[in-house]
Subunit: 429 residues, 2 copies
């Protein structure tokens, strides 16, 4: 049992995380929000108060913190008696915040893989370059660290684990598909930090094919998928965090990630990339100023959080899994559909932030009640997916399953006989 949550970051995902923590503060205890800019933390607190999101009266506090400073972060963890840290700041912070958790014994959660600002799309598997180097340190300190527990990575990893354990004897392929069929009404915007968004696509696209890494180019492979609610949607083979753990943990020979892009997005992306404006390497202007082009592109694009009020439409994200069961070929789609406008009504965010933030809070709750408090580092597919899926069904992120038997809510109790009582005592592995 762990209590009191420190949220690192004050962007769009942190906004959702804070709201959802507030909605569950009977279990989670005090809520602290820390980022470099105190005013951004305070704006989130104001929004929680406006929406009346607190489940019961409790502490909700803003802090100014440079989370690259490990000692300052440790001090804040201790001062706030936080036993759970949800890191939804920049992915450049992961290793610093993780270090602070290891030293203080707090559980660590994040929603995206660590990145070095100076490198893009490094040698796979990416987790081995940073986070996994601290596996032993977590184990020695009995620190629970759940990596990448947003929607993708995160929920899609749990879907894969669920499919491997409960739907198939043998899984042949997992295609993770992420479609945002929403519209923000702006000329161009990214749905999360543009710097991080573009960095995903500016170099080699790694996929896992026949049990080996395959290097592709961005927008090299296009496929049209027919998905529930959002319908036929074009998506492109993309490099993404979850492949770098799932390829190592699940024993599935083919794992691919597909991201939906419209022609307009691709055109803008290609222009910026071909001109060199998505580069993370500094250039020198005629006036002698050293500037990272990507940081300037980020500065001119809309703040993703500003898109929420006018966002319409829905997202569909899920895993299409193929394999065999009892000698028969089988195909299962596990997915969630999320509505931008409903998210905005509930917490003042768009669905991209919402789908990333809610799973992190579900994971925090599973650590708080002991279910996932494993005292070591894990990626999501290494944890029992049943309590996670069941909990999110009641938190605004219901999981649906589409297979030969039809399309329905995935109720772990009905599908595999997993009950709420079992969840309370479920072992993490």
């Amino acid at each position: 049992m762990k209590r009191n949550v420190l949220i690192i970051g004050a962007g769009g995902v942190a906004h959702v995380v804070a709201h959802k923590c507030a909605q569950n503060n009977a279990l989670l205890g005090n809520i602290h929000i820390a980022s470099r800019t105190l005013a951004k933390c305070q704006a989130i607190i104001d929004s929680i108060e406006d929406k009346g999101s607190m489940q019961q009266p409790g502490q909700l506090k803003a802090h100014a913190l440079d989370a690259m400073d490990v000692e300052a972060t440790k001090f804040l963890i201790r001062a706030t008696r936080s036993q759970i840290v949800i890191n939804v700041g920049s992915p450049f912070l992961n290793m610093s915040v993780l270090a602070a958790c290891i030293d203080t014994g707090a559980a660590y959660l994040d929603t995206a893989i660590h990145e070095d600002p100076a490198k893009v799309c490094e040698t796979p598997p990416w987790y081995a370059n940073y986070e996994w180097k601290r596996r032993e340190a977590c184990k020695d300190a009995r620190v629970t660290a759940v990596l990448g527990v947003g929607f993708d990575p995160g929920v899609v990893n749990a879907y894969a684990r669920y499919a491997v354990d409960h739907c198939f004897d043998q899984v042949e392929s997992i295609d993770i598909i992420d479609i945002n069929a929403g519209s923000h009404g702006r000329y161009f915007a990214t749905n999360f930090d543009p710097e991080i968004n573009f960095r995903e696509f500016t170099s080699t696209v790694w996929s896992w094919e026949d049990n080996a890494w395959k290097a592709n180019a961005m927008f090299e492979h296009r496929k049209e998928w027919d998905l529930p609610v959002v319908g036929k949607s074009a998506a492109y083979l993309t490099g993404h965090d979850e492949l770098h753990s799932m390829s190592q943990t699940l024993g599935v020979p083919n794992i691919r990630f597909w991201m939906g892009f419209g022609e307009h997005y691709i055109n803008v992306f290609n222009v910026l990339k071909n001109l060199g404006l998505l580069s993370e390497k500094p250039v020198r202007t005629a006036r002698g100023q050293e500037v990272v082009p990507l940081e300037v592109v980020k500065a001119v694009l809309p703040d993703p959080a500003s898109l929420a009020p006018n966002y319409t439409g829905k997202t569909c994200i899920g895993d299409l899994i193929k394999g065999t069961r009892n000698g028969q070929a089988r195909e299962v789609l596990l997915y969630n559909v999320c509505d931008h406008e409903a998210c905005y009504r509930e917490v003042g965010s768009q669905a991209i932030s919402y789908t990333a933030g809610v799973p992190a809070v579900a994971a925090a709750m599973l650590i708080a009640d002991g279910t996932w408090d494993i005292g070591e580092m894990a990626n999501v597919e290494e944890l029992d997916p049943l309590p996670f899926i069941q909990l999110m069904n009641g938190m605004g992120l219901p999981t649906r399953i589409r297979d030969a038997a039809g399309d329905r809510l995935l109720d772990p109790e009905r599908e595999v006989g997993f009950s709420r009582e079992q969840r309370k005592t479920a072992s993490a592995r």
Copy 2:
């Protein structure tokens, strides 16, 4: 009679100007090249020596100069005994260099209108905002200042004057058309300073219609022109320097400027503009750096001078003039066709730099021999076009005429009885 030339700037146009001055140093005397970066001046001198461009042995020297510093510029003008200054540096320098010329008595030439880095596309006529404010000062100091004497502005102004004086009783419209049908083989590049190039198109497009200014939007008006050599070419109504003097000096009711753009250029331009990346106003990055987006775009684009070695194809720039002669409707096209590869063979530049640089040197020669040494400020259409056109015919920029009588070289001697001897004594106005 004036001698010794100081060239300000060391970009693509300065390169051509220096080569052409070298080819005519018997008349022009010593040649000095000054820019902030000494190495760029020296590279031009090396190239002149490689090509053997010097007409006769003479002085050819590089200087480091910040031409925003009027006192430093005056010092250099005096130290080098330069009586002619050809300003082909950034258009932000014009007023400073002009001030240095007024104080030292040196003749002043430039090829583009003055710009304030903080302003784009100001109230027309643009010359009235800056250069024309120094008209009286030039007259008082008996300083010859020829504004905008590149190709466009410059030669196209002379063409207009030629048409008004020698081809029509009444001119109804002048359409200046600038088509670059060449190919540089790069994903995207501008043919001269990207900062200046984009600034031309990022705000209101002014044209002169029915004796009044008309405000249009960029890419609002498209027209296909059928031109010699380059054939059918799409061009768009664009704001441009020469309209801002010709509208005031020629008494022609309609004067428009059309620039040729391919679909690809327009797409890249629109993406950059719509994202705010062509803005001259600073933005603040997440790291707190103040950056002008346009300066970063300039920094990532190819140096226009670097395009020259692989540039193929031709440019066609000219004036299509409509009006009446002896009560009959008449249409005349005055134009030049310039070949990128031929320019590179001759001076190591592409045709865009070449067509801008050669006229400035022709003008310097007309000042040196007294023909255009008028002791006051003028735009090109206020000067006699005949000696200018005749001189350029022998300098690599021949003028052709297409009218009802056919398509032929415009030989002022044959067309209007203007002889070389007359040129020597021609009065400037």
